[in-house]
């Protein structure tokens, strides 16, 4: 592992050469939503190059660059991983894999799973063979996640699971689920366990939920007498809440670092200049211009903060207090961006479907609607502010 100076330079040269030779040309262009490389057993590849690119990267373990090599990861140091990131950015290479397995499950398996579980699941995550979904929220347990009721009973040689999850992202397309279940009904947090199971197990049913954006990225997921082998429990029985919280940290971190995406390549100021008009190069509507500038400055402040948090984490001081604000700030920012974008587009942003509207504008409008979930998913903004108030500022619970 190289983290400094000359060795890192060697790694950079090798990485650059390898990327040049192995990243297909079409993987160096902006990605459309349809081309998102989710992987998994059921996945239909819209572009064969995406599969090729994934396989080549997975072969090197670079879909999970810092995971240990013994589990299929790249075994890179933080410095090398940064170089890989920079070199990929240099040629505008697409990420080879979008994966809840890489972003959320893998990191907690590395911390909490036993050796067999790590050997079984991590390499398949790295290769994008298995697509995972997250069984967390329930109809009666949203912000109060620990109130979850999905029952998991010990039947001697297996667990028996009954209950319902909701807002399960892409459950209808996932191969496996990491799921929070209740294994003790007499306690709240201490009665929760973390289990893994196959979504094709009899008794599992996923129904997509249609959102205000017209899309269905989330499902209701029902479990009726689902039999799960007992060796698919991660960590201790009734010890799932710590794993659940740790995973949420990875989820929020991932959301914060990547932001919520949005209109690919479109800058609000360009949209405003095109649709509102220009007054000597300035957006003709002075009020809108000022609000766009304020938003762009907030976005820059956020990006600088993400960079600062990363730098602090790498300097070994761990995640500083700034990390705790990122999810809340990212959600607010992304929603504000989409509102401004919609306002700047005027009537061109009010189309739902059909011939009268540009496809890319319709996509932006749908993205605006989708963004309303940003302050709800992965912990509502209110919950995130609670977390900051209590854990960072040390404010107390109401008695």
């Amino acid at each position: 592992m190289a983290d400094f100076g000359a060795e890192l330079d060697v790694f950079r040269t090798e990485t650059r050469e390898w990327l040049e030779a192995n990243c297909p040309a079409s993987m160096r262009t902006p990605m459309t939503a349809e081309e998102t490389p989710w992987g998994g057993a059921k996945f239909k590849w819209a572009n064969p190059d995406s599969k090729l690119w994934l396989d080549r990267m997975a072969e090197k373990g670079w879909t999970a660059p810092m995971w240990p090599k013994e589990y299929g990861g790249g075994g890179l140091s933080a410095g090398e991983a940064r170089v890989l990131e920079q070199e990929m950015a240099r040629i505008k290479a697409r990420p080879p894999l979008f994966s809840f397995g890489v972003w959320m499950l893998g990191p907690v398996l590395l911390e909490y799973a036993n050796e067999d579980q790590k050997k079984t699941h991590l390499p398949k995550i790295v290769r994008g063979e298995i697509r995972w979904c997250q069984g967390y929220s329930e109809p009666g347990a949203g912000s109060d996640l620990a109130g979850l009721q999905t029952r998991c009973e010990d039947k001697g040689d297996h667990f028996l699971i009954n209950g319902q999850k909701v807002w399960t992202s892409y459950a209808d397309q996932a191969d496996w689920i990491f799921c929070l279940v209740r294994t003790d009904t007499t306690k709240k947090h201490e009665g929760i366990s973390f289990v893994l199971f196959d979504m094709s197990t009899p008794g599992v049913e996923a129904r997509p939920i249609k959102l205000i954006s017209g899309e269905s990225p989330f499902c209701e997921t029902f479990f009726t007498d689902v039999k799960v082998p007992k060796d698919q429990l991660v960590g201790k029985l009734n010890g799932g809440w710590d794993i659940a919280k740790r995973l949420l940290q990875f989820e929020r971190q991932n959301i914060s670092a990547g932001g919520f995406g949005g209109a690919a390549g479109l800058e609000i100021e360009d949209v405003a200049l095109a649709h509102v008009g220009s007054d000597n190069g300035r957006i003709a509507d002075g009020d809108l211009r000022a609000r766009i500038a304020a938003h762009k400055m907030d976005a820059k402040a956020f990006a600088l903060t993400v960079r600062r948090v990363e730098a602090e984490a790498k300097s070994g001081k761990g995640l500083g207090p700034a990390a705790s604000i990122l999810k809340y700030a990212a959600a607010t920012l992304n929603q504000h961006k989409h509102e401004l974008m919609l306002e700047a587009m005027g009537a061109e942003g009010l189309g739902w479907d059909g011939e009268g509207f540009d496809r890319s504008n319709i996509r932006e409008t749908r993205a605006w609607l989708r963004s309303k979930g940003n302050s709800i998913e992965g912990g509502t903004s209110e919950i995130n502010l609670n977390v900051v108030a209590k854990r960072v500022l040390g404010l107390m619970d109401h008695q």
Binding site: A272, K296, M297, L304
Partner: protein, 375 residues
Amino acid sequence: MASLNEEQTMLRDAARGWVADKAPVTALRRLRDTGGWKTGYDPAAWKDMAEMGWTGVIVPEAFGGSEFGYRSLGLVLEETGRTLAASPLHATAAAASALLLGGSQAQKETWLTRIAAGEITAALAVDEGPHHHPASVALKAEQTATGYSLTGTKRFVPDAAGADLIVVAARLSGAPGDTAGIRLFLVEKGAAGLAATPLHAIDNRAHADLAFAATPAELLGETGAGWDVLTATLDRAAALLAAEMLGTAHQAFEIIVDYLKTRTQFGQLIGSFQALQHRAAKLFTELELTRSCVDAALDALDAGSKDAPALVSLAKAKANDTLHLASIEMVQMHGGIGMTDAHDAGLYMKRARVAEALYGSSSYHRDRYAKLGGY
């Protein structure tokens, strides 16, 4: 983003210790109550600052400074901002920046050496109206047989009344709004025709109106530097002030959180009420975002980055907005006690508004950020 080196950590820690010990908020109260607004600082405190090397932080070693840079001076000012410590440190650094950027070798040797040694204070005089608008400079510069003379007025100039040296933006040609005709000049204390009127402002710091009547002045550098040096100087002044404001806002926030943890109503600590928790958490969020901007702006100035102007506008606007919010919350979350003169909240609020206006309001910097971004 560069993390702090050992010298910077020591500098910050020393500043924090000194400020807590020698310049608590009671020092500003004493200054206020003894007419200190006319001079703006306690000479003993200023002597300490000079002895600790703060006056030479941005001055090159060749002129007796430590050459630690703007990020380092920002760390010191953040600490002085915490307790509203009054001193000509910022104003002197602003004027020194003009000398650094546009001064001749002789001018640097004459003035920067004395600034670094803490022998003199200096000020930067730019604005003439109620709002920061450097392009509108109208104060007239004319060439004379022996040099130049200045005629006109400057409004609300920080730490100018007692300054030994004033760097003045004046117009050699063109009409207000035309940036090409602006030049920078050096005017010494006691120059003929120079009159300073101390202003008793809400923050009890030393601001003054200046009047120049055919006042003899020396061109900065060979050419008077001009608009580019002026804007680069103002960027340094704005970024340093943003650092001071970050300290002020952070201290206000800490005082608020302490109060939330001690004040009881309805049989509860008020900090247990979610309405107040969320407001505190939002203020904390703004502080963290602002810190990233201030660090980035000062680092960009030290690195000579071309992004510096946009980052400075970002930092000043964020510092303005965050300190504004902190100062309002400080009064509101304290309730009635926050309205009393005995409490410090009012002092923070009054300093906040002055600092927000100096070197550009948020709307000024948002407009500039948009212009720099090409829209």
